[in-house]
Symmetry: C2
Subunit: 590 residues, 2 copies
């Protein structure tokens, strides 16, 4: 393949696009790989499409090697299957919905569990047909509230989704492992670092679930790791629950006047000033903070919820949202408070909440608030707090919720040591779904004994276009992109500099020679462009090997230099094709 | 590639699907290539996806060879560009529309002229950047009123669309020719017969336009050919207009009582009975039939229209629709007639129509109704007709319209002889669009003199998934599909028959040997399936070469037979791989 920059449909831009927050977005646009068509919706230009095709091909090969068979579903789908599983409602405003000319409801599919389940039901009926794993590489849609970071969170994007079908749990475990292994091979081949973390299943249902995250500071997912090997998405971290405490010697709860104490900080100061504790000073960890939220259920219904956490921790809304999915979480507004006059803002205490009072707002506690723990908390009256309020003696809640922030140094739930926090981009997600979809849609097969059995399923996704962005994020510098050889739009970027016709002739000959040997060449043959602009473009475009045919030609050499850094070498023209082809082969073999 | 039928995700069906009218639809579903997901929306199963990929690859290679560069646009697009060209309205109910969560309007694109125009405007600015041709292979959407025939008229389908950009008319002509040539090579390589016919530009605008039709009795397009080489879509056929006639000696028009003459046939009979003509009998061609329609404009507005044609021809609604596009044509209903009481059904004459009467309904005439022609037509009064009504003397119309049916034997408009009619499927369509889109969207470049020039464009489409259906239509018999080697899902179908382990071992060895030589093998390794079922499946699936390993093995031979017919040969096992690989190579080289 030989692409000439004089005719290639690309324009590099010197200015960053106004809406680009992250390097991959900025550089993919500036280098002419993608172009925005609408918020979160991009057009693939020739160079971007080449990279996308290469990423897809790695995914396709490893899926096929893992025994998965490729199919292709429509993106435009009827409502009914999604209604049968409840997801038509559960997705709320996050999917694109439309009607056809006969006013039938359709959606643009964000994921295809229902359709795969129905297809297998349609064609298969016996245990002998299983196990089966199918996959597709397809355009998917999500009406993101905040599309951002270019391809990282888009509204139209390319995904690989795979689905496994097994008779029993052991089969599902094997299919899950096979996909997990395939994912490892895919990301290894792509040269993309990753961490596998335990994840919540969220709206998908199911039992086991893991995410593949590629660590990067600009990632929108936070994950934790322990020295002993625990790794989880922050939403999936469970709190180490302390044992219950005896409370026989705790005095009865007593309400105190605490003027000017609307915040935890001022409350602690006021408590230490007016009601000092004998053994030690009060700290934020002695207070119980009751935070009011509104859950927006997929049906559109709004419900108030109070979450009680120790005052030294904030509520992590993403953790709360994961815990209450598919409902969404909003801050409570004036109207919400007006409807619940018993909630005294800044001074809310358990007394007025369910189950401590009939008709009270639902109340969920951080798991650390075990029986016997004693708290300073709101007394449901302005400027007053209650002291020595004991969980399990003086108040109860409707349950616990994993909503408090996870902090560096927190213990890993499996006892493998203190957690550290990091950020990453989710590039893959695997779920052992179990029988939820098969049950809802009636996918059964006859087993060895002729008995009908509900099939058990797994679901496995890779964000293909997002992986491309993650690769750009992991492979760039301040001058531009620097692709790994496997996914680069070309293997070699030949730059002809100067005005000398001999230079262009030699560069042309080299480009053709390399093309003839199966090397993919991008040739900058533009006649009236300065060397400076050509070098800057080569650095921006990020082809891994740059060959400069220019001044050195008079001495019979060309310069060969790796884009990502490393020494440039002067190579005799006669050997240039050999040397370059050898370097390309070596890079592809890695 | 080695696919095993024991694990391949396919189920052949013995029954035709209830909704399948045509062979390609019936067989692609029965052979497990595609599966219906919703009306006009299909899922590609593994075998179907393989064929689709091969068709796409031929298209991609020839586009690239013709100098076109591949990009990929979103399917979900904002309204604004389509509003700027008027197509948001023009498409009427034929596109899928939706709103995102912010209530912005979007569409699922049926074709991408606007987006390509804007992209080129975005990146290019000089005549030096031209000529340019871009293409994509992409999923497209049309909300067809009557999806039918499986992949032939679907609502979600795969298209290749290409767009050329030139500075001047000569450039456009050259780009148009390059695409036209590429289309010829594509259909030649695919082995799909085609006729290139002159077409209407319809809603696309533009000057020159041709369709590639593959002739087949089940085609929904009618086209004409003349012995002298004229070929046109029936919508594009223009009538040979006779010269005007002198009418000095025609008597004044006279109204006559014509009881019981509601049809042309009864009118002719009544006229010959009551008002016989001296020189010859009246015929249907002497009558002028005024047919009432309602135009539904894209804005939703309804307008009545009367079309006058000689009584020996029907109005061809598809021709009329092409002539009035983007408006749609409906039959006039009771309410329409009630609103125009001057129209006496069955007896409508020009007198009450525009421009013969103020406020009259719009009136368009067949081009044969030239000045001086004399007619029997309605007298706008029940049971009465007017005789000797002369065009240009006694009545006028608002213009002419190409709406009368085209008949075999009609003269070709270029004088190349009488027309014959045939049916075909439109598989490609090329348009010299001109400057309509560039003008509407402001795509200009600076020319050699630094002057701003509006770019001229062409648009070139191939219905990729439809081509697959057309190939199935052209390559089948009553037992199943019979693919040409280039697009078949595999090159060879190896069938192991019987229960003998030696047979399965030999078949397996042959399948592996062929796979190792790069032959694509579908291997029927199912252990407990009868030879009859296996042969029927092989015939249904349509792989071009069938190799039977079975009873003959005892004598050391296997049977090699072409699926499409021709002699079976007994080949010694030891030579089977050589012979089969040779046959495959030969078939692919054709």
């Amino acid at each position: 393949m030989l692409l000439r920059l004089s005719t290639l449909f690309v324009r590099t831009l010197r200015e960053d696009p106004a809406d680009a927050e992250v390097a991959s977005h900025r550089l993919l646009v500036r280098a002419g790989y993608i172009r925005r068509a609408a918020p979160g919706i991009y057009t693939w230009l020739p160079l971007g499409l080449r990279v996308l095709g290469k990423v897809e091909q790695v995914v396709r090969e490893e899926m096929t090697a893992a025994g998965a068979q490729e199919v292709l579903f429509p993106a435009l789908l009827p409502k009914e299957p999604y209604e049968a599983t409840g997801r038509w409602t559960d997705y709320g405003p996050n999917i694109f919905r439309l009607q056809d000319r006969r006013e039938n409801d359709y959606l643009l599919a964000p994921t295809h569990e229902e359709m795969f389940t129905l297809l297998v039901k349609d064609l298969y009926s016996s245990y002998k047909d299983l196990p089966l794993t199918l996959f597709q590489i397809q355009t998917k849609y999500r009406d993101e509230a905040r599309p951002r970071a270019g391809l990282i969170r888009g509204r139209e994007f390319v995904m690989k989704d795979a689905y496994s079908f097994d008779l029993d749990d052991d089969g599902l475990a094997a299919s899950y492992e096979a996909q997990r292994d395939a994912y490892r091979r895919i990301f290894d081949r792509l040269g993309l670092g990753y961490v596998i973390v335990t994840a919540m299943s969220g709206a998908m249902g199911g039992s086991r679930s893991e995410e593949f995250l590629t660590p990067t500071a600009i990632g929108e997912d936070t994950f934790v790791r322990s020295p002993g090997g625990y790794a989880a998405n922050v939403e999936a971290v469970t709190t180490v629950v302390p044992p219950a405490l005896p409370y026989d010697d705790v005095p009865a709860a007593h309400v105190e006047h605490t003027p000017d104490s609307p915040t935890i900080e001022s409350l602690v100061a006021r408590a230490n000033e007016l009601y000092p504790r004998a053994d030690r000073a009060w700290t934020a960890g002695d207070t119980l903070k009751n935070v009011v939220f509104v859950l927006k259920h997929p049906t559109g219904e709004r419900e108030m919820l109070v979450v009680g956490v120790p005052g030294d921790r904030e509520v992590d809304v993403k953790r709360l949202e994961a815990a209450v999915a598919p409902s969404e979480v909003e801050q409570a507004g004036e109207a919400d408070f007006a409807a619940q006059p018993e909630l005294v803002r800044g001074y809310i205490g358990p007394e007025v909440l369910s189950p401590n009072r009939e008709g009270g707002v639902r109340y969920l506690l951080d798991p650390r608030v075990v029986t016997g723990t004693r708290w300073i908390t709101g007394a449901n009256k302005a400027d007053h707090h209650v002291f020595d309020l004991v969980a399990g003696r003086d108040f109860d809640a409707d349950g616990t919720v994993e909503a408090a922030e996870v902090r560096a140094g927190d213990e890993a739930p499996d006892g493998s040591g203190p957690l550290e926090l990091a950020r990453g981009i989710e590039i893959g997600h695997i779920f052992a779904l179990g029988r939820k979809y098969a049950q809802a849609l009636g996918l059964t097969v006859l087993d060895q004994d002729g008995k009908s059995r509900v099939v058990t399923m797994g679901s496995y996704g890779i964000g293909v276009s997002r992986v491309l962005a993650a690769l750009a994020e992991a492979n760039h510098d301040d001058k531009g992109l620097a692709w790994p050889a496997h996914v680069a739009p070309a293997h070699v970027h030949v730059v002809a500099t100067g005005k000398d016709q001999a230079v262009f002739d030699a560069a042309e000959a080299l480009a053709r020679e390399l093309d003839g040997r199966g090397v993919e060449v991008l040739y900058d043959d533009r006649p009236k462009v300065s060397p400076g602009v050509k070098f800057a473009d080569a650095e921006l475009l990020g082809v891994p090997l740059v060959v400069v045919v220019g001044r050195g030609l008079a001495e019979g050499v060309v310069e060969v230099r790796p884009r990502a850094g490393g020494d440039a070498q002067q190579v005799p023209v006669a050997q240039a094709a050999d040397v370059v082809a050898g370097l390309v082969r070596a890079a592809l073999a890695r």
